[in-house]
Symmetry: D2
Subunit: 126 residues, 4 copies
C-alpha cells in the first residue's frame, strides 16, 4: 500500500464530491466558510483545557480520534478550496517560508509587538 | 529543484521556529487558536463578495497573492499543530475519506438536513 | 415581567457560572476562544446556503430556534468575556460608531479596497 | 448624556449602513461570516499569550483599546445580524439561561465529558 499524497487526496475528494453531486455547494466562498468552521471545531476540543491538559490530549483514545478527525476535515476543505481556485498549497507554503526567512533573520529579537500580542510570522500582509 | 512535500515543509517549519526560539509559544492549544484565526483571515477576503465575485477572486493579482498567502498560513499552522501532537494529516484525511465512502453511498439522496443546514460530511462525530 | 437588559444578563451569567464552579475555566483567553467557536457554529448554519436560502432561514421553526440559540451562545460568551476584563460592550460600540462616523463620511465613495475585499468599517486598527 | 442601549445601538448601526448604501452587503450569511471573522480577531490578541499574560491584557493601554475595539466589532455584527433576521438577542439569551438552569442543576457534577472537552453549556443542540 502506498502513502497518500496531497495530489491523490485532492483527486479522491473531487471524485467524492462529484459522484454525490455536491460541487454546486463547493464554491470558493462556501469552502472558505467551511474551512473556518472546521478549524473552530478543532479549537473547541482545547477551549477549556489548561496548557498542560492540552499537551496530553492524545493520551485519551477517544479525544485523539476526535483531533485526527477534525484535522482531516480542515485539510479536506483546505484542499478543496485550493482545487476550486487553482492554488498549490505546498508551493504557497514553501514560498511563504522563503519570504519569512528573509523577513525574520535568526538572532534578531522580534520586538515587543511580537511578544505581547502576536508572533512576527502572523503578519501576512507583506 | 524538487517539489516541496509535506514532510519537508514540516521540517522547515520546525527548524524555522526552533532557530528563532518560538517553540514555547507553539503549544497545541495556541496552534489550534492560530489555525482558526488564519482560517478566518482567509474567509475575510470573501465575506462581502457575491458568489460570482468570489469565483473570480484570482483574476486580481493582489487578491490572488493574498489568498495564496492565507492558504500558506493555514497550512503552516495545521502542519505545526500536527507536528506538536504527532498526528499524520495525510493519513487522517485518507482514513476519513474511507469512512465517508461507507457513510455516504453514491446515489442515496442526502436528505433534508444535509440540504438545509449542513452537508453530510460535516458530521465528524461518528 | 421586565425586559432583560445587558447588565441583568451579565449578572445571571456570572451567578450561573459561580454556582457551578465554572469560573476557573472562564479565563479571558478561554472565553475569547469559546466566543470564536460559537460564532463559527452560527456561521455553520449558513455555510452551504445560497444567499437567497440564507435570507429565508427563519421560515423553518427548527432552524430559527437553532439561530436564536447560537446568537444566545455568542452573546453569552461576549458578555462573560467583557465581565472578566471589565469592558463595557455597549460603551465600546457607541464609541466605535462615533469614530466611524468621522472616518467614513456619508457621500464619499468607499473606494476599490472596500468593495473587493472588505468593508471600510472592518479596519479596526485606527 | 444617556447610557447607550441595545435598541439605540441597533438603530444607529442601521442608519450608518443605510446612509452609506452598505445594506446590499449586509445579508444574513455575510454578517454571520463577518461576526466570525471579528471574533477571530479578538482571539488573535490572546493566541500566543500564557493564561497569566492574558489576564493582564488590559494593563497596556494600547492592547486595552484594541480589545474594546474588537468587542465593539463583534457586537456590531451580532446586532446587525439579529436586525437582519428579526432575532431579539437579549430575549434569546434570557431564554437560553432559563433552559440551562434546568439542564445543569447546581450541585450535580458535570461529568467527564464536560471536563475534558467541553463545558456543559456548550451543547446548544437541545
Amino acid at each position: 500500500m502506498t502513502e497518500p499524497d496531497v495530489q491523490g487526496l485532492q483527486r479522491r475528494l473531487a471524485e467524492f464530491a462529484a459522484s454525490r453531486e455536491w460541487q454546486p455547494y463547493h464554491t470558493p466562498k462556501n469552502l472558505a466558510a467551511a474551512l473556518s468552521v472546521e478549524a473552530a471545531e478543532l479549537l473547541e476540543i482545547f477551549q477549556w483545557l489548561t496548557p498542560e491538559e492540552a499537551d496530553r490530549v492524545m493520551d485519551d483514545p477517544e479525544t485523539a480520534h476526535r483531533v485526527a478527525d477534525e484535522v482531516a476535515d480542515v485539510l479536506a476543505y483546505l484542499l478543496q478550496f485550493c482545487g476550486a481556485l487553482g492554488v498549490d498549497p505546498l508551493a504557497a507554503l514553501s514560498a511563504k517560508i522563503d519570504r519569512n526567512e528573509v523577513r525574520f533573520p535568526v538572532g534578531r529579537p522580534p520586538g515587543r509587538a511580537a511578544r505581547t500580542s502576536k508572533e512576527p510570522d502572523r503578519h501576512s500582509t507583506e
